[in-house]
């Protein structure tokens, strides 16, 4: 531990809370607050958001005042590939059908790890996709298209 200042986790978390609380206040400001006997829809959100804001500022303040504390290095590869694979599923599921969406999801998710072997992942992906189609679309009859046509 060095003598540098700034506790990064505190600062980041505090900033996040301030952002969320700010957004909540902005979107609920127009709602009526009402009285204690007849509270409006805006009462609770405002109370909670202000409390959250206070916590956010507290963490920002504490983070700025404390000795340095970093965060683990961020690896972009999994951080991009996993959300991308979920996005691929969301985009393809309705249009291209469950079978292709599943395969694409597994292939893209595989990119997240350096250990992935392309061919193995593909073969495994086909097997899992087939299993998923059988299980969800056939046995459980989810209302999901299986093929694009």
């Amino acid at each position: 531990m060095t003598r540098r200042r700034f506790d990064l986790p505190d600062l980041l978390f505090g900033g996040f809370l301030v952002l969320v609380a700010g957004a909540a206040l902005a979107t609920t400001w127009h709602l009526s607050v009402g009285t204690a006997a007849d509270m409006g829809p805006g009462y609770f959100p405002r109370v909670v958001a202000f409390a959250l804001l206070a916590f956010g500022l507290f963490f920002l303040g504490r983070g700025a005042g404390r000795r340095f504390h970093g965060i683990e290095t961020i690896h972009l590869r999994p951080l991009l590939a996993i959300p991308a694979s979920v996005a691929v599923f969301a985009v393809l599921a309705a249009s291209a059908g469950l079978a292709l969406a599943s395969l694409a999801t597994i292939v893209v998710a595989g990119l997240a790890s350096r250990e992935t072997r392309a061919l193995e992942n593909l073969v495994f992906g086909v097997a899992i996709s087939a299993g998923a189609v059988l299980l969800f679309a056939k046995l459980l009859s989810l209302p999901v298209p299986v093929w694009p046509w």
Partner: protein, 499 residues
Amino acid sequence: MEFFDHILLGFSTALQFKNLLFCLIGAVIGTAIGVLPGIGPIPTVALLLPLTFGLDPATSLIMLAGIFYGAQYGGSTTAILVNVPGETSSVVTCIDGHEMAKQGRAGPALATAAIASFFAGTVATVVIAVLSLPLAALALKFTAVEYFSLLVLGLFAAVILAHGSVMKSLAMVLLGLLLGLIGIDVSSGIARMSFNIPELADGIDFVPVAMGLFGLGEIIANLERPSQRTVVSQSIRDLIPTRADFRAAFPAMVRGTAIGSILGVLPGGGAALPPFSAYALEKKIARDPSRFGKGAIEGVAAPEAANNAGAQTSFIPMLTLGIPSNALMALMIGALMMQGIQPGPQIMTEQPALVWGVIASMWTGNLMLLVINLPLVGVWVSMLKIPYRLLFPAIVLFCCIGTYGIANSLFNVWLMLGCGVIGYFFIKVGVEPAPLLLGLVLGPQLEENFRRAMLLSGGDFSVFLQRPISAILLGVVAVLLLALLSPAVLRKRKEALAE
């Protein structure tokens, strides 16, 4: 002895071959589907509800109950093995259960979960048989005022729950409360923070949030440190809990069962409060609370017992009053009505064979699940031998299909994606997602009951102290707060922070 007559009547129904068979089928199917990531007991029961339409009333209810317990067992398995909670209660099991799995102790964790559930199920069956009428009367004593105080207590319990800083868990509870407010306000019908997205009108679904924060976030973080993943120990001896495990787990089971039995009867919070409160209690009374969150076996035994006991006693309001205490019981009532049976306070006297048969089947069902699940522990654990590079894409895919499938909503998949990134962020800044999830589940009820209590009392805040049950609950909150702020605890907290 009326009690023995009832039990006898119950077992004579539950032990009929047909009922045993459908109980078994329900338990097996429930386990099989509940083990899929993201599909918890409620969607499982909804999914399989139509299977029971052709059966007679007792058999169909027995099968549904079997599906329900089965799905809970399955859900705990998923929570422990891959850290993907499919329902509120598994969130707590994830904390220490998955930690145990990471340390190569998935076997004992799974076995403890199964045994704790069975133990709680057995006790809860007796509780229902003996105490269902007084407990139902107690449930009716809970009006908005008492319920609000209970929820406050539950939320404070969540703060104790997290193993990080108190301040951070408080902030997370508030964050969860705020997220829980999204959607149409029950008391005014006005949509809040829903950004004109119709999918948000009914509030944020729990499942995508939980799967994103826990499952996806954890996967992203895991992939960053491939070397740290423990290879699962494979010898049979490591599958069963040791004597020391038992000694630690048993008292936790007993306490969890007691908490679950009482809280389960209460409407609404039924599913969320018991496991969270049981975990918090274990942590509070443990000699070394720092073990929690790092694979403490009590952290698996107590919430699993509480969850199962609560699940069972949540049948009490339905069986004695015909009032569903949660979404699941509403489904069960639907099943009864489908069978042409009017649920209501008369059901116990008019359909004794049905009611007591279902109660007795709870025990047979739990026994079956224990018998099915203990041998399966080895199978589940060997699934962890699949290399992680193959396992994680499959988990991601099942999370996607699960979230999409149960609500037929692509919006939920996007929501899960967003929560996955936020979950990763939380891991990076060192905060626990569990309190957030509790806030999310309890938030809407907290607001609803608070506003209703205020509306009914004409804005008089003192009602919370005038009603005895509420005053006692708030008293406990005050004691908890004092304990949290007392110097001794502050010192302990400092030690925890220093590490």
